[in-house]
Amino acid sequence: MNGAEVILEDVSKFYGEVLGVNRVSLHIPPGITSLVGPNGSGKTTLMNLMAGLIHPDRGSIRVRGISPRDPERLMRITGYATQYDAAPRSMTGFEFISSLLALHGHSRSRSAQLAVQALERVGLSDAAHRKVAGYSKGMRQRVRLAQAIAHDPEVLILDEPLNGLDPLVRAETIEMFRGEAARGRHVILSSHVLQEVDIISDQVILIANGMIAAEGEIRSVREEMHEHPSQFLVRAREASRVASLLFLQDHVTEVRLSEDRQGLLVLTRSREAFSQALASIALDGYGIESVAPVDENVDALYKYLIGGEPS
């Protein structure tokens, strides 16, 4: 099975004096794996190491048997959507994706065809021929996702891929991750919000201060978390209508409307049921703008797992 895993053995990376990650060992099987940790905990460092954008000071890395020091082979099977919000602004989304595909050795027409497909999969077909400079944050997020999936890689590495996506696109994106995982691929993503990813992940790796805080035990922790109500902040144009619809759900224990009547604080016993309910409400309109878990539960989890404040 080794040849099909992403393996890190005792990997450390320092930026001068600053610790990036320290002595990380991981065996990541195919499926959806989430790296979860607060900002500065080393998620991006780990992903950059896997993709060969930086190199470890010690330890070794194999991505399905390939060393990240061999980009010629590694990047054929790997797609990486970085956190860096800087697609070349003078290009259109289509030009950006297709020019990178051309570097894979595809012909012009094949590159164009694959670029169109990738942009369609992330829902950017309409904006494909507009300059990236004019894209919204969420669109730039998606164009980077398109760049990562365009060559149909076996290993997808996605740094905070759900950040800045509206609920509908987020649901579609998660659906895509599930599809990739079902095909036996690696989907490795990161988030600083546990609730955002824990339901969709086959495996969650908690990282703090450059070290793996927990892995594998997460399921039991998750069960425990399930018994406590989780809180979400929802912002919607027709917040009061959404509130009444949500309140009909039996997993929702409390709904509070904010003063500007555009925000909702929702307490639910089941995050899974909640996100499904919200997704179906979103499909019917009501102008849902954002959903964010209220972070205190993550903090509580960190305290529980790490025995201290997340730094």
Binding site: P71, E72, Y84, L100, L103, H104
Partner: protein, 355 residues
């Protein structure tokens, strides 16, 4: 190199070169490349204006112009040659001598005859050409070596080539290239080709254009002869020198952008190194770009007569190598620098946050 790698390098070169040509940052590179052309263009314009002004006042035949003899009288000359294009008179007082001096000019289309009469008798006769091909070629040689090669191409390549890695790190787009399934050396090669394509087109054409404009408004006969003899070879040599300067400086600045965080200081050091080239021991002279490129220039510029004595003493340009050796030497220096760059590019890391 497998065909795929070659194709990757060429694809990358094309993508990057397009950006180098069109980027707003390249604007001043074009300015540098076109500056000599602009100077010679303005020179041509001024010659043209002068000629038109003289012609409008009357042109005489060359034979007539040459017919003026010493000791002819003012009245006879004016009667024979007609109304001069310029004409002025003044009183000259020197010791006891007092004379009424009249100075007149005639123009035969390319030469200006300057006649000075004192008290009605021809005193002196000079002929000067409106334009002087030899002189302008020497000026061109000087501008080309001292400005074009040492400054324009130098700073143009600095702008273009440092930007290929350093600039992409700054605007946080370098990682997209690193995410392509390419060997890092192929990436380096593609980027170098891109820079070379942009720089040699801009500076090669700039050299050719300024050479052409230097020859503009020159007497047709002299020009025809020049084109029959040296013209094409010189045009080629200047263009080749500009392109080879791009080859050399390009590799140096590509490596600089890869190896060093801040390119300003190494650029200043290099500028000094290249500028001080003729003062260096001859071994070290060979470790530069200008030493080889200079040897390809067809006309040696006159040495600076204002150079202080101490510098003249130190000034010891090594014997210029032959053309073939110059090209080989330059390519060797370039290969050495690119080899260093290839070692560096294998270790390259994305490091955006600390910039």
């Amino acid at each position: 190199m497998t065909p795929l790698r070659l194709r990757q390098a060429l694809t990358l070169a094309w993508l990057e070169a397009r950006r180098a040509f069109l980027s707003r940052r390249s604007f001043w590179v074009y300015l540098l490349a076109l500056f000599p052309a602009f100077v010679f263009f303005m020179h041509g314009i001024s010659v043209k204006i002068q000629r038109d002004r003289l012609s409008s006042r009357g042109v005489i035949s060359a034979a007539l112009m040459d017919s003026v003899r010493e000791s002819e009288t003012e009245a006879a000359v004016i009667a024979r040659l007609g109304k001069p294009v310029n004409d002025f008179a003044f009183d000259r007082r020197a010791k006891q001598d007092r004379a009424l001096v009249r100075r007149v000019n005639y123009f035969d289309g390319s030469r200006i005859l300057v006649l000075t009469f004192a008290n009605g008798v021809l005193e002196s006769k000079r002929v000067r050409t409106l334009v002087n091909l030899e002189e302008d070629r020497a000026v061109f040689a000087m501008v080309f070596q001292n400005f074009y090669l040492r400054l324009a191409v130098f700073f143009g390549c600095l702008g273009i080539f440092v930007n290929l890695f350093r600039g992409k790190m700054m605007d946080k787009t370098l990682h997209f290239w690193l995410l392509a399934p390419m060997r890092r050396e192929v990436l380096l090669g593609g980027k170098y080709l891109a820079g070379l394509l942009a720089a040699s087109l801009i500076f090669g054409l700039g050299a050719l254009l300024s050479f052409r404009l230097m020859l503009w408004e020159k007497p047709p006969a002299e020009l025809a002869l020049f084109w029959q003899q040296h013209g094409p070879a010189h045009a080629f040599a200047y263009t080749a020198a500009a392109v080879l300067a791009c080859v050399g400086y390009g590799s140096v600045f590509l490596a600089t952008g890869l190896l060093l965080r801040n390119p300003i200081i190494p650029a200043a050091v290099l500028l000094l190194w290249e500028g001080a080239n003729p003062f260096l021991p001859s071994m070290l002279q060979k470790l530069s770009v200008i030493y080889y490129v200079q040897a390809l220039c067809p006309v040696a510029p006159p040495p600076d007569p204002n150079m202080p004595a101490i510098m003249q003493f130190l000034f010891s340009p090594a014997n210029p190598p032959s053309r073939l050796l110059a090209v080989t030497g330059l390519l060797l220096v370039t290969a050495l620098v690119l080899w260093l760059a290839a070692r560096a590019v294998r270790k390259i890391e994305i490091n955006y946050s600390t910039d």
